[in-house]
């Protein structure tokens, strides 16, 4: 057993002190998004639920909340898709294999996978929403025998914005998932479908309202239209999950930044049931 001195024990118990993790792989996915694969020193798993997030630190620059985009069924590492939108994320984009980052988490509430077991699954992802969705997608594929039918719909604005291209090929070819992808604005090379993500609902077979669980992850506008499609298929509101994007700072329900009416996205979410969310006026504005 290794001994831990008191200051190290204090650091581990402190809400705000990040743990050290190493970047083991970096993949530039688009102009704006990079995929980091990271692992804790000593190989300790992140031990997260699909849909949870972590606070990623570049010490001296700051911290930002990032969804974990890999599944806990792949415990040797965890992956983070980071869009370059500000100072901290710009620094994250400069990280290389071997760089050290700080991680706090896993934080928040993810998908209740126990509730999903045995059900048919429909995941609808728009834009960057594919990142948190991917932790669940991988989970369902890795635990395939635990689930019924699996449908996955993914939409982005233009082909250049497609993320996880290797995964897309895999999913397209896999018999384990009924996968459809569309782009709003196709370019000349695009051979796939075009139109908003809700147009993909036409590709779905009849859904069993009592046996289907749905996860909708994407920008608020997409969410509104997608939830309409799902409700129209008579799926109850508490069978619909979605994930909210807010700027979590403390990540532990204190600092107030991610508050949505009377809930904290970092604590009560980021994954919510639609039944809970529709009572929150600020959630989808």
């Amino acid at each position: 057993m290794t001994t831990v001195d008191s200051s190290e024990r204090e650091a581990r118990a402190d809400l705000y002190v990040p743990m050290s993790a190493q970047v083991v792989d970096v993949q530039q996915m688009t102009d704006l998004e990079v995929l980091l694969r990271a692992a804790f020193d000593g190989g300790r798993p992140l031990d997260h639920c699909p849909g949870q997030f972590v606070q990623v630190s570049v010490l001296g620059v700051g911290e930002c909340p990032i969804s974990v985009c890999s599944s806990p069924t792949r415990p040797d590492y965890f992956e983070l898709c980071v869009r370059r939108v500000g100072e901290v994320t710009a620094h994250i984009h400069r990280l290389e294999k071997g760089s050290v980052i700080g991680i706090r988490g896993p934080l928040g509430r993810g998908f209740d996978v126990a509730e999903l077991h045995g059900k048919d699954i429909l995941i609808v992802a728009g834009g960057l929403g594919i990142a948190p969705a991917r932790s669940l997608i991988q989970y369902v594929l890795d635990e395939r025998q635990q689930f019924g039918a699996f449908h996955l719909l993914y939409g982005v604005r233009s082909p250049a914005e497609l993320l996880y291209r290797d995964d897309l090929t895999l999913w397209r070819e896999s018999p384990d998932v009924n996968f459809h992808v569309t782009v709003d604005r196709p370019d000349e090379q695009w051979r796939g479908r075009s139109g908003v993500v809700t147009t993909l609902f036409r590709e779905l077979p009849q859904l069993d309202p009592t046996e289907t669980m749905v996860a909708i992850i994407g920008p608020p506008l997409m969410f509104k239209f997608a939830v309409l499609e799902v409700l129209a298929r008579r799926i109850p509101q508490n069978s619909i999950y979605c994930s909210l994007e807010r700027r979590m700072k403390c990540g532990v329900g204190i600092c107030g930044h991610c508050q949505v009416n009377n809930v904290y996205a970092c604590l009560d979410g980021p994954v919510f049931k639609y039944g809970q969310l529709k009572a929150l006026r600020e959630a989808l504005e």
Binding site: Y16, L59, C64, R83, G86, R247, I254, G256
Partner: protein, 357 residues
């Protein structure tokens, strides 16, 4: 029944006793000629009891900055190519807050809850655990516009180590006498440590009873809605035009947040020395009325309008904090109303909403 009776001069001796072991923070009179009244009271560090002025009516700010300072280091870090080492920093200086009014005691009890709801914030509790609270009861409203009685915060039954009740001056002199109630063992030990205080006699008991009765008569309600009914009132008022109408005057300056004894939101920032890679991460007060508070990456603002920010603050104070913590989120001290640069008044807001509903 009071636990002890103490005269002002003896109390000062006791405070000086405490000052040998603890930093003392209490009300200090400051001349502010441009204000009316021209003498204002602030909670400040003092070295001796005679620097305190316990005859204060109210302090401009609550003592919250001594428990959760405007800016505080969360941890210091060193880094090299191989990684980083972070050392959390806690302030455990023994401290005594002297002369804390019931409203501010309620606000501290709220902090005790919200910093330990789902996760325990050791930075707060390091200070809190080292802080002794000697309360000062209010015989009547400290100033116009307060609504502490409405919020159930003009009386504190717990949350202090000892509480002083100013009974009035002696019959044989002009020295203030206080009844004292113990809140904790530490408070009891402090008072019984020396012979400065006495057990109350029958006259003292009568004086304390009269004090309580006079106090009861001195406070009145300011809100048309009972505290228990505020949730229902606000539940019906989300779409009221009053938020827009009132917020037209709002400068989004955040003075209400700054002066509020129950506001505790914060932002987190890093600072680093580029050459060494060493630095610190600290937090500082933030305020939900400031336009950038709900701004996220990509320049989307979840509360872009002053009206939505005003509504957010009032909902937090009147309903949401209580829903989460069980402790009411406002203590009715009206510091927000006094601090408001646009004279937005929360009592007025509640009462106008009640009229509308």
């Amino acid at each position: 029944m009071a636990d002890r009776i103490i005269r002002h001069s003896d109390l000062m001796k006791l405070v000086d006793e405490v000052a040998r072991k603890r930093r003392i923070i209490g009300p200090v009179a400051r001349s502010v000629p441009e204000c009316e009244p021209p003498v204002r009271y602030f909670y400040e560090d003092v070295e001796r009891a005679d620097q305190l002025d316990l005859s204060f009516r109210y302090c401009v700010y609550s003592p919250k900055r001594f428990l959760t300072p405007p800016s505080e280091t969360l941890f210091a870090f060193d880094q090299d190519d191989g990684g980083f080492v972070a050392a959390p920093q806690y302030d455990r200086r023994p401290t005594a807050l002297v002369g804390v009014h019931p409203c501010d005691i309620h606000a501290i009890r709220l902090y005790d809850r919200v910093f330990d709801l789902e996760h325990r914030d050791e930075h707060y509790f390091a200070r809190r655990g080292a802080t002794m609270i000697i309360g000062m009861d209010c015989p009547g409203p400290c100033t116009d516009g307060v609504f502490c009685k409405d919020m159930g915060a003009n009386v504190a039954e717990a949350g202090f180590d000892a509480m002083l009740y100013p009974l009035g001056t002696d019959t044989d002199g002009d020295e203030m006498r206080y009844a004292v109630m113990f809140g904790t063992k530490a408070g009891r030990e402090w008072l019984l440590y020396s012979r400065q205080s006495a057990a109350p006699n029958a006259d003292d008991e009568r004086a304390f009873e009269k004090y309580q009765a006079d106090k009861e008569a001195a406070f009145s309600f300011a809100l048309r809605t009972r505290r228990e009914d505020l949730a229902e009132l606000l539940g019906r008022s989300y779409d009221s035009l009053l938020w827009d109408a009132t917020a037209r005057r709002c400068y989004s300056c955040g003075s209400c947040n700054l002066s509020c004894p129950t506001c505790y939101c914060f932002d987190i920032t890093d600072e680093t020395d580029l050459a060494s890679g060493s630095g610190r991460r600290w937090r500082e007060w933030d305020g939900c009325h400031l336009p950038e508070f709900a701004l996220v990456a990509g320049d989307h603002n979840f509360r872009p309008k002053a009206a939505s920010r005003l509504r957010h603050r009032i909902y937090r104070k009147a309903v949401w904090i209580q829903e989460r913590s069980g402790v009411v989120g406002c203590v009715g001290c009206a510091r927000c109303d006094r601090a408001c640069t646009a004279k937005i008044n929360s009592v007025e807001i509640y009462n106008q909403l009640a009229e509308e509903a």
